[in-house]
Symmetry: C2
Subunit: 170 residues, 2 copies
Amino acid sequence: MKLNEAKQQFVQLWGAFGGAWGINKTMAQVHALLLVSTDSLSTEDIMNELSISRGNANMNVRELMAWNLVYKDFKQGERKEFFKAEKDMWEVATRIAKERKRREIQPLIASLNMLTDIDEDKRVKEVKEYVDMLNSIHSIVSKMDSAVDTLIKTEENKFFNAFMKLFKSI
Amino acid sequence: MKLNEAKQQFVQLWGAFGGAWGINKTMAQVHALLLVSTDSLSTEDIMNELSISRGNANMNVRELMAWNLVYKDFKQGERKEFFKAEKDMWEVATRIAKERKRREIQPLIASLNMLTDIDEDKRVKEVKEYVDMLNSIHSIVSKMDSAVDTLIKTEENKFFNAFMKLFKSI
DNA sequence: TAAAACTTTCAGTAAATATTGAAAGTTTAG
DNA sequence: CTAAACTTTCAATATTTACTGAAAGTTTTA
């Protein structure tokens, strides 16, 4: 397969699977487009490449910046804003995980805590069964939360180690 | 909080977060309703409890059965079908993971393999950068795939061990 | 075999979500 | 300061997704 053909198909693929990772289709396409672009792109470039409106392009780029997946990249002598994607895919995975943890896992844990607090006799079978079920959901979700923390820590350590390497020769 | 109030709120909560786990709102509500019900429920019960149509109730129950999260439960002397949910939440997590692996991870891996196969000179920087990025996505997604396999294996072993216990006394 | 009891399907409709594009807002250059 | 270059907003609209309910299909009973 030719490079440019593959890149285009990757944009489509990433768009189609975006939904599965909690990211909407166009946002995922913009992300993919920036991932496969050697240079950073302007809003106009994105509009043209994906055939989408200015408003849509702008909105999705903002959202990608909110997820920390895309940065502004100012070019010498250009007034326009350009955008480039974080290309270290482990970093990307970490940031998506971090964001979803914040948006989904943590509020869920908080709600589960509320709903487990029943002021009826826990020796009654029906009460016990309910509380046990909620506790086990709580335990699973907490474990996922910890798993994400581990991933984040691992990435942070990688960064720290890379940073320390700079001083190794001293 | 009172048990019944909590149960109702749990149905709403599970519905709201369902989307995040790749499950649609009503399907998640039906699931939650069956999870908190002591007895198994008929289509009519579900329609009434959730104020949804017969078609909708039927469709979502079928879908939950396709995900292996809900079973038919025939009652003595009743002609109607009744449904009950798998209540072991680790088992539930495993089955959701299994299904998402099948629907999302595996097709994604297959597509990534296609898109990594570029017939241009890999010494060219642009080609190399693209291939490296795709390989690192591939590596991450494969790791998630393996993680799911581990989860499934763990559950299967639990089942096997429980099964073996039955013969312990022999 | 007929009709009652139930389940499934699906065309039409409703609801939710995403997109457009023109107008308003902001920044920079001259 | 003000016009040009650019970014952001948001009401209107389009698209996608989910839901309804009546009709068709199936199974059971008598």
